[in-house]
């Protein structure tokens, strides 16, 4: 299997990652990612392995919690580190996008 040519739409990736980077930074990261991905593309040399999910090395399954409610944090502690809060709410500027 030949390594696929690596195309990187770095502006798109930065947008997905919510990083506001300058054009110079984007260019520089694009170059660096290219070098790393070229090396990383060596994973494509492995053949014939079936798809696997990332399983726990000890094979753990069914780690559940019983449905019991426990005390929450004190609100003063919740808001202690908040850059901006009002009447118990965290505050942010207008949200443009809608999920």
């Amino acid at each position: 299997m030949h390594p696929m040519p690596i195309e990187i739409d770095i502006a798109h990736v930065a947008r997905l990652a919510r990083l506001e980077l300058s054009d110079e930074e984007l260019d520089s990261y694009k170059t660096q990612l290219g070098v790393i991905l070229e090396h990383a593309a060596r994973v494509q040399s492995l053949q014939g392995e079936p798809h696997v999910e990332a399983a726990h090395p000890l094979g753990l399954v069914n780690a559940f919690r019983e449905d019991i409610s426990r005390p929450s944090l004190d609100r003063d502690e919740v808001l202690a580190g908040a850059p901006s809060h009002l009447d118990g709410f965290f505050v942010v500027p207008p949200v443009l996008e809608i999920e």
């Binding site: 696929m4 990187i8 770095i10 798109h12 990736v13 930065a14 997905l16 990652a17 919510r18 990083l19 506001e20 980077l21 990261y29 660096q32 990612l33 070098v35 790393i36 991905l37 090396h39 990383a40 593309a41 060596r42 994973v43 494509q44 040399s45 492995l46 392995e49 079936p50 798809h51 696997v52 999910e53 990332a54 726990h56 090395p57 000890l58 753990l60 780690a63 919690r65 944090l73 004190d74 502690e77 919740v78 202690a80 580190g81 908040a82 850059p83 901006s84 965290f90 942010v92 500027p93 207008p94 949200v95 443009l96 996008e97």
Partner: protein, 487 residues
Amino acid sequence: MIASSVSEAGQLLRSGATTALALLEEALDIASRTEAQLHAFLTIDGDGAREAASQADADLADGIDRGPLHGIPVALKDNLCTRGLETTAASQMLAGYIPPYDATVVARLRSGGAVIVGKTNLDEFAMGSSTENSAYGTTYNPWDLSRVPGGSSGGSAATVAAGSSLLSFGSDTGGSIRQPAALCGVVGMKPTYGTVSRYGLIAFASSLDQIGPFARTVEDSALALSSIWGHDPLDSTSYSGPYPNPTTALDRGVDGLRVGVVTELSGEGFEPAVEAATSDMVARLEKSGVEVSEVSLPTFDIALSAYYLIAPAEASSNLARFDGIRYGLRVEGSTTEELMARTRAEGFGPEVTRRILLGTYSLSAGYYDAFYGQAQRVRAAIQEDFARAYSHVDVLVSPTSPTVAFEAGARVTDPLAMYLSDICNIPANMAGHPAISVPVGLDDAGLPIGFQVMAPALGEEIMYQVAAEVERLAGFSLAPPSQGAAS
């Protein structure tokens, strides 16, 4: 120093020959004389530590013995959440952040009577192999102040080497405990994935991260591990079955054990002194009665590539929560979207930004199968390679790091060269297996060399058994020049 190890300190404490407070004051004193050059700590909590030490002394006087770490001064990598004590992960993003809770490991250390001296430096969010990626300045190697201590847990390695704590804890995602332990001449160990709770460890790559100890001796390392591991209901990946006993086999010797030397972890890129020290130790082990064989694990050649897809992918998601809304840094913007994007661009350093971009890319539509998906297949193949190897050997050995400590600044502009520092360590993370680095000697420049012992999942008992023999055979004496100058 009052005591050269945790076990010795424990005896002195219980015989009344010393106190927890005295051990702490000595650690603080060493720190006060070495920190200006080493910068192992980000925070030293003198007041909190004195209070804990006094309590430890009072408890012992009242006949309350909390176990092997009772009264022992310990240091914590600054990505372990400590209630009421600043925790930054060495990032601008978390400058001034005070967690409202203790990591499970921290809670266990406190209830085990350990005295928390402070928080140690690391590569930002544990991403790096030199501790040069800290937003708060580099940590230097106690053996040579122009060199790096390794990373990412460089501060935790340096403090134990320097004596400003008797024991410390770090996290190992792709060698972040073992590689700095090797470069600083101390014992560093990564436990089986799932045996030490990750609750309260600021996540880098959740499927790979594991907390472990730095110690001056193999026995101390085993004692420290027994104090922190065990099932934690707050961590879904925590193992709830029977645990091995890390200390039972320390004195058993190695006669009749089967040791495999990993073919792929030698040759190009490995310093001659490192290779010589490794083969010398293998020869000595053979004289001690082990059956040595060469073992090839072909997937190790692509393990690093897979790691640099999987770890950044998980990191890109784990670090998404740092957005300037609920805690940490905020850079204002006219919309929430702008605020988030500016905060993240400002708050993350270049290495973290690089890995977030890398991880985002490898998970994104159109690239997932070729990169992240394929890396997961490689991971499964690595596990199969290990399984085949362990069907005919008990442990695998290799150098811990291909090189000794390198000059500060030497690799910062070449990410790939930096990533190669962890080539020997990554397979154990990819498989979730335990591995330990034991110092075995110095190179011609007087820099420590580490020897790695890997074992199958939950193979800590045999891993420590071999590590203890390696320690005896090496006769390595922990005395970095900076510590000599300090004492």
